[in-house]
């Protein structure tokens, strides 16, 4: 018999303390949950993986017809379809991550009640699942941009990582917070679609930030997704995004991440009792 040096102490205080080592130890579970979600999602569907690109493409077409052609919303030096698709790729990653993370605890209730593992793995793995879709969409976006004659410029080096990180930070923060609240209050289920819809309107996805007066822009930037979407357009557009606004969004996304994380860690220990 192999003698293990591992010692587990269980006391009221040993719970709710964040151990990075624990997450590292359970890292395989992190992949396996994502892998499971990816595997399961398109089983028994006719279009399969095509669904990943279906949603942003159809939305782009509809938005282009209504907001681009009829409402004539300005889109700077980019054609409206490219303008809106860029925003949608990031926006969809954000909204899918938030809603999957928010429901992750409830969907895995039976596991939470019967097995121990750091529960933060569940919402985080749904972020990883969404990331795969996001990469596919990003690939489509670049093809579309090149085809329409708007190859990415050099600013991609910092603007792309910036947009991705801000999106990940803010969706993790909000996702963790909602996942935890959802365990106790199932109201989240009803609020969530509404919340995401409202957020879409206050994020410059279908319109450019430039249609707002400078004094209003600053309020918009508190919504970190404003910064992410604006920055992502700078990859194809000739105009440099406003760095002050990007900084505000970046700080805001970090604060959201920390708040979500702290709230989740504090409430995590009671999940198995109340879910």
């Amino acid at each position: 018999m192999r003698v293990s040096s591992r010692e587990t102490v269980i006391s009221p205080k040993s719970f709710g303390v964040f151990h990075l080592a624990e997450i590292v130890r359970f890292r395989e579970l992190f992949y396996i949950f994502s892998w499971r979600d990816i595997k399961v999602r398109y089983k028994q569907t006719f279009l399969g993986i095509f669904w990943v690109i279906f949603q942003p493409l159809v939305t782009t077409i509809i938005f282009t017809v209504f907001f681009g052609n009829f409402a004539k919303i300005p889109s700077g030096d980019l054609p409206y379809p490219l303008f809106v698709l860029t925003g949608l790729v990031f926006w969809n990653y954000f909204s899918n991550s938030v809603s999957h993370a928010a429901n992750s605890m409830i969907e895995n209730e039976s596991i939470i009640k019967k097995v121990y593992f750091p529960k933060i793995i569940l919402p985080l793995s749904s972020l990883l699942t969404g990331f795969i879709d996001f990469l596919i969409n990003l690939f489509i976006l670049f093809i579309f941009a090149v085809v329409t004659g708007h190859s990415p410029n050099l600013r991609i080096i910092y603007l792309l990582p910036f947009s991705i990180l801000v999106t990940i930070f803010s969706s993790s923060g909000i996702g963790l917070f909602l996942a935890s609240v959802n365990v106790k209050y199932r109201d989240v289920r009803y609020i969530l679609p509404f919340f995401i819809q409202i957020l879409l309107f206050i994020t410059p996805v279908i319109y450019p930030l430039s249609i707002l007066s400078p004094s209003h822009k600053i309020y918009m930037a508190f919504n970190p997704m404003s910064g992410a979407v604006e920055a992502s357009r700078g990859i194809f557009s000739g105009t440099t995004p406003d760095f002050f606004l990007l900084t505000v969004s970046a700080v805001s996304s970090l604060l959201i991440l920390i708040a979500g994380f702290v709230y989740f860690s504090k409430t995590e220990k009671f999940f198995a009792d109340i879910v």
């Binding site: 192999r2 587990t8 269980i10 109201d187 009792d273």
Partner: protein, 409 residues
């Protein structure tokens, strides 16, 4: 050497209100509006019922010991395993586990119906704490044990419940851990597989691993464990040799009357009779005769439930299950009324004489409300069994089947 499991005054308190499946934001808002003082005063919900699911549990287990944990439903056995598995935190006290812990509170946790058997082995393994390398190493053993080679690439949703169970147990049985916490998992599946699982468990125990084993099945506890504890109302007895423990446990159960009160359902099973005689009076029955078991109940509420009731006969000396049936098996449906009874009639074959325990399980609207409740004992009297007039008393088999010997020259 330090004990591998050291539990010191471990306690867990639950509030009645919190055990609700979920409640809405509105309730919390109402609390704020109607009684902001109380909410601000720090959530002292004094009006809320509290109870200790576990209270001052002390237990030291040495490496390689297999400890049985027995007790009635709701006594706190599962809660103890949940606290030790770190699923739920204790309220007071401390426990130290020296070694890798694997807990098995339910077989097949996290199985996904859409995934294939192969994929589920990896998924379930990972959830139970096995690494991919470990699962790969044990993969063939798991598949062999579960006997599902041909269906490895079929989605689990197309498995029979037996196959599902076998696969789930097979993964769990191959867990590498110094400490195993096991809850009731062996009590499912067909008898052949149960025997196989029990054999596997004995193997595990011989390899020097420490096991805490919760079960209702005293026969299995007796077979697997040398020592054990009884948990009653959240408190635990001292660690005792298993035979003595089971005797104490049965004596404590014998004082209970042959009635079951289900307060939550406003239903009471007032008496169980065997051939008209209450089990309280230890009825006697003859082998090779008609036997009738009746459960009488009365209800005080207006609600009617779909009743499913099982009767089981267990040989008292070694807990062998001799007979089992429930009314849904025979497609007999019964909705409870204000007062009624349900009875079962069968031909008792020539079983070995001695004391038998009569057990029942009750489901109301499909929910198991009492599991393995012992209603009382009955005696099967000794009857002439062989042409040689030898008695059945020391006969090795449980069932005597009329047989004919022939000699040819």
């Amino acid at each position: 050497m330090k004990p591998i499991i050291e539990i010191n005054k471990l306690s867990k308190k639950y509030k009645y209100g919190v055990s609700q499946p979920y409640y809405s934001l509105r309730d919390s808002l109402t609390n704020w509006i109607t009684d902001p003082v109380k909410v601000l005063a720090g959530n002292k919900k004094t009006d809320m019922g509290q109870f200790w699911a576990l209270k001052d549990i002390d237990l030291n287990v040495k490496e390689g010991e297999i400890v049985g944990i027995i007790g009635r439903n709701g006594a706190g056995k599962t809660t103890l395993l949940k606290v030790l598995s770190r699923i739920t935190p204790p309220t007071e006290g401390k426990a130290v586990l020296r070694g890798r812990v694997a807990s098995l509170l339910e077989v097949g946790t996290g199985f996904h119906p859409e995934l294939t058997g192969r994929e589920n082995i990896f998924l379930n393994g990972a959830i139970l704490g096995m690494s991919r390398v470990e699962v790969r190493k044990k993969f063939d053993d798991i598949v062999d044990f579960a006997e599902i080679e041909r269906f490895l690439d079929t989605p689990v949703k197309r498995y029979s419940s037996g196959m599902h169970m076998r696969l789930a147990f097979a993964v769990a049985a191959h867990l590498e851990a110094e400490i195993l916490l096991i809850d009731e998992v062996l009590s499912v599946g067909d008898t052949a597989f149960q025997q196989k699982s029990l054999g596997k468990m004995e193997n595990i125990s011989q390899s020097g691993r420490t096991i805490l084993f919760v079960s209702h099945n005293l026969g299995m506890v007796k077979k697997l464990c040398l020592k054990g504890i009884i948990i009653k109302d959240g408190r635990s007895s001292k660690l005792t040799a298993i035979d003595e423990l089971i005797n104490t446990y049965q004596q404590s159960r014998q004082t209970s009357s042959a009635s079951i009160r289900l307060n939550r359902y406003n239903l009471e099973f007032i008496n169980f009779r065997v051939n008209g005689i209450s089990v309280k009076d230890e009825p006697e029955v003859f082998p090779e005769s008609q036997m009738e078991i009746t459960a009488e109940y009365k209800g005080s509420g207006n609600k009617s439930y779909d009743l499913c009731l099982s009767f089981a006969l267990r040989k008292k000396e070694d807990y062998t299950l001799m007979y089992y049936s429930h009314n849904h098996l025979e497609n007999v449906r019964h909705m409870t009324e204000k007062k009624g009874s349900i009875s079962l009639r069968f031909h008792l074959p020539h079983v070995s004489p001695g004391k038998y325990t009569l057990e029942t399980q009750i489901w109301l609207d499909g929910n198991l409300v009492t599991d393995g409740f012992e209603m009382g004992d009955l005696t099967v009297v000794s009857a002439p069994a062989f042409a040689s007039h030898k008695s059945f008393a020391n006969f090795p088999a449980h069932l005597l089947i009329p047989s004919l010997w022939r000699i040819r020259k």
